[in-house]
Every structure is written in C-alpha cells, then in structure tokens.
C-alpha cells in the first residue's frame, strides 16, 4: 500500500482583486520531509498554505491534502497548523487553550487536559498552567499557541512563520521542538524569511518570489546556487591581477585583503594552487561557506534583494 503524500499542489494560481498572489505553483510534500517554504513578504507563501488547508479556494489548479480535497473530514485532526497571525482567547488559561484545540482535533476531554499539562511542564511553562492568557508575556503566549497547534500530535505540521516574534532563546527552543517532531517521523512544512532556520532544519527548500516558485530542491542544491565567496590577503602587489581569471568580483577590503566572488568554474583549491605556484605569500585565505540568503538573492535577482533585506531586518528587529 502506498502512503498518500500529505500535500500535493498542481499548477495552482490565485489572484485577489486582480492582483496575482500565487501563479502556477506546483510541489508535492512527501511523508517525513522537513520543508522550508521560503520567500520575502508578499511572495505568496501564506496564500499557498491557506489554499493547501482549504481556507481559500484557488482560482485554478488542483490541491490534494492527504489524497483528498482540502477541508475534507478525512484531514481534520491530522494537521497541526500554526498561522502567521495568531492569538489566544484572552480569558482562557494556558491549559484550557491547549486542551480546547486538542479536543477540536479529536482528543477526549481528560486526555486533552493531561497532554496540555504534560506539554506545559515539558516546555517550562508549568507556572502558566492556570494563568489567563491575557496575563502572560508575549513569548509565553507564543509558546502556548504553538503547543495548542501541535498538542494532538498530528501527522502533518504546517507552520506559517513560526519564528516571527520570538526572541533568540525561544527561537532555539522552537528549533529544538521542530527537530523533536521530525525525529518522530512527522512531516513539516514551515514558512520563514529567516534563512538561517531553514538552513539548520530543512532537508528540502521551496523558494517563492513574486507569487512564483523559483526553486524546489535539497538544501545542498539550493546552497550550490549561491555565489562562492572568499577572502584572500597578501603583501604581494600582484594578488589582484592574479585573481582576475578566477573571480567575477574583486573588492578591496579596508584591511588590505580582497573579497572575491568566484566564477562558476573556479574553486578555492585552484586559487590556492595558483598562489603557491606564483610564490605569493598569503596573509589570509578564507573560503566563505554559502548561505541560503545568498542563494536566494542569486536565484531571484538583485531587485528582490533589497526587499528581502528589509524583511529580514523586520524579523530581527
């Protein structure tokens, strides 16, 4: 028996008031995958995820959630969804909030409260159990929201910008939670515009820009799209001239060294061999590991870069 993929999206498009939000997007999520759904604000990530859940109907294309139509009875209770815009009932306590969502997802009353208590203890929120949501700090409330979304231990996690609004300590806690969920063999797709999280957590990346999918592949494949950078330094005046055949860009640094972006066919090993051959005395030789941020900029072009940086600044602020 073949296991139905949790989500498959085929040629899906959606426009709001004539403005295209998602255009001809296709991808399939396989069981057990951790997918980073990346892109700047307005890339179409949230709209795609909402369509995947059946909250919005696509204008064209087809979506299958657990092999059926989104919003079908068969998918309820199997999904843990954390939306980008989230909140809690102000007058409920933390355990009531978690238990309520768990019960809506099919758990029995006592079991739901038991799991709520266990989760709150596990994630350091024991003292918040009987605290009203309105009296909790923002960080605590965000943790409770996440626990409410996942308390029923679903098969498929859809997390829309789960890291946004969390402080660095809680971002690490959330990363640990995601790893723990993945270890249980669950499927996860999470959207973010902070590439570092995706780099650390995902085995597959889907990049969105301007409503279109611009990349879909392994994290290594995505990183290979990034320009290879390195810093090289020497007292020898010939260094700049010597690097020209290897680099598309050579920018002198304040400390006298050079920032290089290597050509597609060049690699740092060849640069080093050439320097040894020419008897250049190197003071610095630092190949820089590629980042998803650089890969994204390389794939979507410079126009998107500024927007992306603004978005990242917003997240880090």
């Amino acid at each position: 028996m073949t296991i139905a993929s949790p989500l498959s999206i085929h040629n899906v498009s959606k426009a709001f008031a004539g403005k295209v939000a998602v255009e001809d997007v296709s991808f399939t999520v396989q069981p057990g995958e951790i997918i980073g759904f990346l892109g700047p604000n307005g890339a179409g990530k949230t709209t795609t995820l909402r369509m995947a859940l059946g909250l919005i109907k696509p204008d064209s294309g087809e979506i299958k959630l657990f092999g059926g139509a989104p919003g079908a009875e068969s998918s309820f209770g199997r999904i843990g969804f954390l939306p980008e815009e989230r909140g809690l009932y102000k007058k409920q306590t933390a355990r009531e909030s978690i238990a309520h969502m768990a019960r809506l997802n099919g758990m029995k009353g006592k079991e739901a409260f038991k799991i709520a208590d266990e989760m709150l203890d596990k994630y350091g929120l024991s003292e918040a159990k009987r605290k009203k949501n309105k009296d909790m700090s923002k960080g605590m409330a965000q943790k409770v929201q996440l626990l409410a979304a996942i308390a029923h231990d679903p098969e498929f996690y859809i997390l829309d910008e789960p890291f946004s609004g969390l402080d660095p300590v809680n971002q690490q806690v959330l990363e640990a939670m995601v790893r723990e969920i993945a270890e249980r063999g669950r499927t996860i797709i999470f959207s973010t515009h902070v590439m570092e999280h995706a780099e650390r957590l995902c085995d597959r990346i889907i990049l969105m820009a301007g409503g279109r999918k611009v990349f879909d592949g392994s994290t290594d494949d995505a990183l290979s799209k990034a320009p290879r950078r390195m810093v090289i330094g020497s007292d020898d005046d010939r260094l700049t001239e010597l690097m020209s055949p290897f680099a598309t860009s050579i920018i002198p640094r304040e400390d006298g060294a050079l920032n290089l972006i290597l050509k597609d066919k060049a690699n740092s090993q060849e640069v080093l061999e050439r320097c040894v051959f020419e008897k250049i005395n190197l003071t610095r030789f630092e190949p820089k590991p590629p980042t998803l941020h650089e890969a994204f900029v390389a794939m979507v072009g410079e126009d998107m870069r500024a927007e992306m940086e603004i978005a990242n600044m917003e997240v880090r602020a």
Binding site: R50, L55, I79, G80, R86, Y89, R103
Partner: protein, 492 residues
C-alpha cells in the same frame, strides 16, 4: 445546492467555549441576578419607607378667601380615590374571588385604610408590606400672607414649618382678584405640575358648576345622568367559544390573547436583538484574538457559525432564565388566583399552536438574524466598524417591532399579513397574528419561507465569513468590492 456538512462534536465544543467564555464573567452573573437583586431591593425599600422623590410642601395663598379649603379638600378626595383603587387592585390580585368581592365593597364603603386592615387580617404581613403609598405632596398653611415673602421661602432663604419641623416650601398657588378671579402657580420646581394640575382641575370644575347653575342644574344631577347613560357592549360575531348561557360579548378573556401575543412578540424581539448582538461581538472578539485561522484548520466554517449560534442561544436562554421563570410563575399565578376572565384568557393564549409556532419562529428568527450578525462581525475590524455596519439592521429590527401594536388593533391589516411573509419581520408578525387565528397553511408557509431564507443567509454568511476573515477584508474590502463590481471603478 449542497448543504454544508457539520460535525456535531466540534460544533458542540465551539458552542461550549462560547457559552463558558461569557458565563465565567462576573458581568454575566450580575445581569443574571439583577431581577432578584431588584426584587430584594424593592422588598427592603418597602420596609424602609423609601421614597423616590422627596415630599413637596405646597401652600395656597388665597386673597379671595373662597377657594383654599375647596382646593385642599379636592386634593384629599383625589388621594383617597387613588388609595381605594390601589387597594381594590391588590384585593383582586391577592384574594380569592369571594373574598375579593367582599373586600371591594369594604373599600368602597369604609375606605382604603379599612381595606389595608382587612388584607392584614387575611394575609398576615401583607397589610404592612402593601401599605397605601404616602402622598409626596402636602399642603401646609402659608407661612406668610405676602407673595414676595413666600418667594423667599421658595428660595430657601427662609424655612416653613410642618408638624414642628422645618421644611422647604416647594410652591404657592396664588389666587387673587384682578378684573375677575385669577390664579398663578409659583414654584422653582416648575417641571413637576401636580399642584398646578390640581388647581387647574379645581377651577375647571368650578367653571362647570357655574355653568350648570346658570341653567338651574347641579353637578350631582350631571353625575347621575352620566351613570344612567347607555353603555356600549362589544360583541364579536366570529366568537365561537361561547359558554352555555353566555353570549358573543367581548370580555377580558377575548382581549388577553392579543395582549399576551404582543408581549411574546416583544420578548422574541428582545431575544433576537440581544442574541444577535452578542454574536456580533463574539465574532469580532474571535477576529481580534486572531484565533479563527488556527481553528479553521481543525473545523469547518459552518461548524464555527453553528457552534456560535448554539452557544449564544444557550447563553441567551440562561441570561433570560430569571425572566422566563418569573413570567411563567406570573402566568400560573394569574391562572390559579387571578381574575377569572384574565385567567381564562391566559388559558386560551397558551395553546399548543401558540407554543409550537412561538418556538419555531423564535428559533428561525434567531438563526436568520444571528447568521446575519455573524457575517457582519466577520467583516468588521473594530467596534466602530461593527456599529456602522449594524445600524441599518438595527433600524430594520426596530421598524419590525412596529407591527406589534398593529397586531392588537388591526389584526386584519394587510401590512401585518405582508409583514408575516416578509422574512425580516415574519417572526414578530406571525406571533402577533396568532390570536386572530390565521390559516395554518399561512403560518406553515411563512415558517418554511423563513427557514429556507435562513439557510440562504447561513450560506451567505459563510461566504462573507470566509471573505472577511481570510482575505484580510474588512469594511474597506466590502466597499472596494462594491466599487469594482458595481460601480466598475478601479480600486487600490
């Protein structure tokens, strides 16, 4: 058309949360116990001789010396009549039929105080609890015979005396000669016209006596003639429930069902109004709490709508429970101990047909308006938005209650018939028409029509809900849609 699927467990859980969300607030319980709190306060107020307004001390400055005593006597007569009427009503309400007649004769012969003593003898404690209300207006001797000096008393520059205590003079009826008799009323408390009205009544009566005397006629003769006038009885040719030896004469028994139906219709309106408004605020709260999107991954739109309708319905019933209990208690009390004509009328009111259709229209009216308000709540983004959006519906709801008096005065009015078909007013109009016994098929068809429209409104509400909650659309979204689709204008 495919009807929306619903999972009952999830619907119940949403209803339960909404219900408990309100029931756990202290404001809810304050409202719930309000009738009892007022009852207790009323009980103690009667014991403590609490008065809503202070006693007003009035005086008559009669420069003619002809009218003062008569005005004071008229005031005393009026107070006696009111006291006797109050006592008589109390007797009818509290005493069995045989004792009530005896009581009425006693009050007519010996006055209200005798009635109060009788009540105390028959129902110990009642005489003390239900005593004749003291008058708030007392006439005192003028502290001065000079109007200018009396003005100083009214300004509280000086104090008058009554039974050895200093009191403030509230007003002066000044009667004087100036090419005939003239009378003025002086008072800083000029919005309270009781003394002025008394003086007017006295002089009007005096004028009539003068006129009658001109023709050698007397007031007593006029009163006797009035008593002997032909009385008009009202008969209803369609009346069929005539008792043996009775006639088709219209009695209180025939009028009570119309009054009761009007009250029920008003209650229905109040329930729909308060329930629907609660739904609107509940929806708005959900939107502001930003929880809907997360819930929508676990439930359907329709389950949220029905859950909310169910939760708020249970809440409304709980909130109204004290009034329902008091109402049912009052009806049973009237049937068992009240005036037989009214009791009979009440029995005729609460027929199976009335109860069944009241429940049907209560449910349909609530669903119809409730779904509408949920839809409005989902496009509103703030209380200001909600108020702007609901004002037209509130006006329609208010206009709908206008059919209630029509039901009492003109049950055959074509407006009322139309209103019972028109979905916005159907729940209220159909109830007030019930005592005039409209054909059953009309009621069934009206209910069916409203039921179909209610389903339509739920489907529409679901769409608006989807649009309002998830497309980031608020009031601006609606106006933009209107500009784009209707006015064919470009929007930003």
């Amino acid at each position: 058309m495919r009807l929306p699927a619903i999972n009952m467990r999830r619907t119940y859980l949403i209803a339960r949360r909404d219900y408990l969300g309100y029931v756990k607030t202290w404001g809810f319980w304050l409202s719930f116990f309000m009738p009892f709190i007022f009852g207790i306060l009323g009980f103690f107020a009667s014991s403590w001789d609490f008065k809503v307004s202070p006693t007003r001390y009035e005086t008559v400055l009669d420069e003619t010396g002809l009218h003062k005593a008569a005005i004071i006597q008229l005031d005393a007569d009026n107070k006696r009549e009111i006291a006797e009427e109050v006592m008589s009503t109390l007797g009818k309400t509290l005493l069995p039929e045989t004792q009530a007649k005896e009581f009425e004769m006693l009050v007519a012969e010996k006055g209200a105080q005798a009635g109060q003593d009788y009540l105390e003898a028959k129902i110990p404690g009642a005489g003390e609890r239900l005593k004749i209300p003291d008058s708030n207006m007392i006439f005192i001797e003028p502290p001065s015979n000079d109007l200018d000096e009396l003005k100083a008393y009214m300004r509280e520059d000086k104090m008058a005396t009554y039974q050895g205590e200093e009191v403030k003079l509230n007003g002066v009826i000044h009667i004087y000669e100036d090419e005939g008799i003239k009378a003025d009323y002086w008072s800083p408390n000029f919005n309270n016209p009781e003394a002025e009205r008394l003086a007017k009544g006295y002089f009007r009566s005096l004028a009539m006596d003068g006129y009658l005397a001109g023709g050698n006629l007397s007031r007593e003769g006029l009163d006797a003639a009035r008593k002997g006038a032909v009385t008009i009885n009202t008969f209803d040719p369609t009346k069929t429930n005539v008792k043996e030896g009775g006639s088709q004469k219209v009695t209180m028994t025939d009028r009570v069902p119309f009054i009761a139906a009007a009250i029920l219709s008003g209650m229905l309106w109040l329930t729909v109004f308060s329930g629907a408004y609660m739904l609107l605020t509940s929806m708005l709260e959900e939107k502001m709490n930003k929880l809907l999107e997360m819930m929508l991954a676990s439930t359907r739109f329709t389950e949220i709508i029905f859950g909310k309708l169910l939760g708020v319905a249970a809440l409304t019933i709980t909130a109204m429970l004290p009034y329902i209990i008091i109402g049912i208690g009052a009806v049973i009390g009237f049937i068992l101990f009240g005036d037989p004509e009214i009791a009979e009328g009440l029995k005729n009111t609460f027929t199976l047909k009335m109860i069944v259709f009241f429940i049907i229209f209560l449910i349909l009216g609530y669903i119809f308006y409730g779904a509408f308000f949920i839809a409005l709540g989902s496009v509103a983004e703030s209380m200001q938005d909600a108020q702007t959006l609901t004002t037209p519906i509130m006006l329609v709801l208010t206009a709908c209650i206008m059919v209630v008096p029509l039901g009492m005065n003109s049950p055959d009015s074509p407006i009322l018939t139309f209103a019972s078909w028109f979905p916005l007013s159907a729940p209220f109009a159909a109830i007030v028409r019930l005592p005039s016994d409209p054909p059953l098929w009309e009621l069934c068809l009206s209910a069916l029509f409203l039921g179909i429209l209610s389903i339509g409104v739920i489907i529409l509400a679901e769409r608006i809900f989807r649009f309002g909650v998830l497309s980031g659309a608020g009031v601006k979204g609606v106006t933009d849609w209107f500009k784009r689709k209707i006015l064919r204008r470009k929007t930003n």
